[in-house]
Amino acid sequence: MRELILSEITRMAQGYCIIGLEPQGNAFRSVRPMPQRSHAWGHPWPHSRGDRLRFRLASLPSVRPHVEDFQAAGAPACTGRVAEGELLRCLRAAETGRKTEELFGSALQTNPQGGGAAWVNAREATRSICGCEFRFVRFHWKLDRWRAELQLTSGESLKSLPIVDRDWNDFLDEAAKLGGSQNPQERVRSFLNGPVAAAIWKDENRFARLGLARPNPQGVCWLMLDSLFPLQKREWLSKFAAGPGTT
């Protein structure tokens, strides 16, 4: 049995993809436990970010860039929990990059005529998850999902990262319900880029984990926002619900 600290729970079409941190000397490495015959765990996923979970894991053939994949036998057992600050300390001791080219071991690419989503070539990338410090975040709704723009401490920007973090998505869904019937996304966007972005900006622990989607037939792996620290706070929603002027 191997114990992991659950660091990512990301929404996928058929369920959730999860990643945990496993101690390795003074550092940590990311491990992606997957159920039999699927990349995703089904609904409902009963565990929370920061849970200590014990898995029975078996190695899988290493296929770049998803070298963190492991086969899990059965459901994990929860043995405890770490707080947000401790989880963040562990994440900073796992895979990190300061510049975009350090994130996945290869250069990021974007379509200048497109929406700014970034991708890496599956054959060149050496891993599929990485953490980074960032300066600021902005949010926008485009087409069918929330996306984030991150400016890294290197000054480089990732303009359009789809937010797949389950907890942030739950938060955004709740905010949308509070946004009213007329164009709720616009109201939520103002809320996110106003008081929420300001609260994140004031927090010293601005850290994100970026993941790579599975390669498509062209060998393109898209970047996604798997985790965003500081984590969303319930009190932000209460202020949003109370209406303009109170946030």
Partner: protein, 457 residues
């Protein structure tokens, strides 16, 4: 009324063809280079052609290329997933716009003006021509740095007694003369310069030098190398939205004092020359079909959060000069990419094909980059009036001088009208601006005649 309906029909047919072309071009950016395009009803996602992220990228690029941001947001059935669905969506929006335009045309009071003509143009460059070898020597550069690497043969420098105002006034006088307009007819002067630092502004100084009327408005606009498009946009917008008849858009740049040898990296400073350009914009009656170029679609933008913003930064050094940070190669690549994208956006928005253009008046940091742009865009080099080879990078006046040359060259031949002129420029940031000038039909009434009632405004 009938005429407007016919216009709408023609526009609808054209927009249907354009919509399909735009969708297919954007779809191709996410497909393997050798792959065939799918049938127009093929579901891009269900067929495995695109994943959800590539789907979003295709739709966003279609929105950008068609100049319809957000057109696919909030659709009742979700974003379109086939070529036909996406093209139908664009077409429907275009049709609505055309109908709205036609209705507005029917409702407009007689005499309401909406067309703007480029009635006159002119340019001038610094009176001293300095060969590349001399520039390399004064900046302590290795031989051929300017000539071979950048492709600049000489730069035009303002003489000892020349400044931005002198060059601007010369260009403006040439433009007014070509338009057959007296300075007293000018209702607004819009001036841009990336080098003028004085107060009062260059616009004020030019107003005084040209002895313009007291009720002639003065506007100084920024944008550095993209300043020309900003000035044309402001001038055109004023004429379209007010009772003003004549606007003068002017660029003027004299780089020498700020880019002294030893002060700034010679590989940067050595590229610049001095020049000015001016354009007389005149409001025309709606039904006028004069033989002139009219500014049509404008595309303005900024890419503040992408990496090009870090590629060049110029700030005062506190000693009368400037300090500069720049990454020339990366900036050049970004500039070519953005100019190519801008030209394509202009083509999509205006419905003018790039192949049909008579000229491309673009910003030209140096001849090598201009050649790269022509290559990347698949456009013939001879359609770019080359300014930077003999004069250097003239800042906001580079595109201005190129446009002045383009207008000079683009004359009707027999019964054939000259093609559109694409203007595209970018400045640090990157700040982007472009427009398409399209040629009208019959003879242009004289400015004197058209401006007769301007004084009463």
């Amino acid at each position: 009324m009938k005429r407007n309906e016919e216009k709408v029909d023609v526009a609808r047919q054209r927009s249907a063809r354009d919509a399909h072309a735009v969708v297919e071009r954007c779809l191709r950016t996410q497909l393997p280079p050798a792959g065939a395009l799918p049938a127009e009803n093929t579901d891009w996602i269900a067929s495995g052609l695109l994943d959800s992220m590539a789907h979003s990228e295709v739709l966003i690029s279609i929105e950008k290329a068609s100049g319809l941001p957000g057109v696919f947001d909030g659709l009742p059935g979700g974003p379109p997933r086939s070529t036909k669905a996406a093209a139908d969506c664009l077409e429907a929006v275009h049709a609505k716009r055309e109908q709205a335009k036609a209705r507005a045309g029917d409702a407009a009071p007689a005499g309401a003006a909406s067309q703007v003509a480029v009635a006159g143009w002119g340019h001038c460059v610094g009176s001293e021509s300095v060969p590349a070898a001399a520039v390399e020597k004064e900046h302590g550069l290795a031989p051929d740095t300017i000539l071979r690497r950048a492709g600049i043969e000489s730069v035009a420098r303002a003489g000892r007694e020349e400044n931005e105002l002198d060059l601007a006034a010369r260009a403006a006088e040439a433009a007014l003369a070509r338009a057959g307009a007296k300075a007293s007819l000018v209702d607004h002067v819009i001036v841009t310069s990336e080098t003028f630092l004085g107060l009062p502004s260059l616009g004020f100084a030019l107003h005084r030098r040209l002895d313009l009327r007291e009720d002639c408005g003065v506007l100084d606009v920024g944008g550095a190398c993209a300043g020309l498009v900003n000035a044309l946009f402001v001038g055109t917008s004023i004429l379209r939205s007010s009772r003003a008849r004549l606007a003068l858009a002017v660029t003027a740049d004299v780089h020498g004092p700020a880019l002294r040898p030893g002060q700034v990296d010679g590989r940067f400073a050595g590229l610049f020359g001095d020049g000015a350009s001016a354009f007389v914009l005149r409001r025309m009656p709606r039904e006028s079909n004069g033989a002139h170029y009219s500014p049509g679609e404008f595309v303005l933008g900024c890419t503040p959060s992408s990496s090009p913003s870090r590629l060049i930064a110029v700030s005062p050094d506190g000693q009368g000069g400037v300090q500069l940070e720049f990454d020339g190669d990366a900036l050049g690549r970004a500039a070519v990419r953005q100019l190519d994208s801008l030209l394509r956006q202009l083509a999509a928005r205006s419905g003018c094909r790039l192949e049909s253009a008579s000229s491309f008046a673009t910003h030209q940091p140096n001849p090598r980059l201009l050649e790269m742009l022509a290559r990347q865009s698949g456009l013939p080099m001879e359609r770019f009036p080359v300014v930077c080879k003999r004069f250097g990078n003239l800042g906001s006046s580079t595109a201005g001088v190129a446009l002045s040359l383009a207008l000079e060259q683009s004359k009707p031949r027999g019964s054939a009208k000259p093609g559109p002129i694409f203007v595209a420029a970018l400045g640090p940031g990157l700040v982007l601006g472009g427009c398409v000038l399209q040629f009208g039909g019959d003879l242009l009434p004289s400015c004197e005649e058209a401006g007769r009632d301007a004084r009463s405004v």
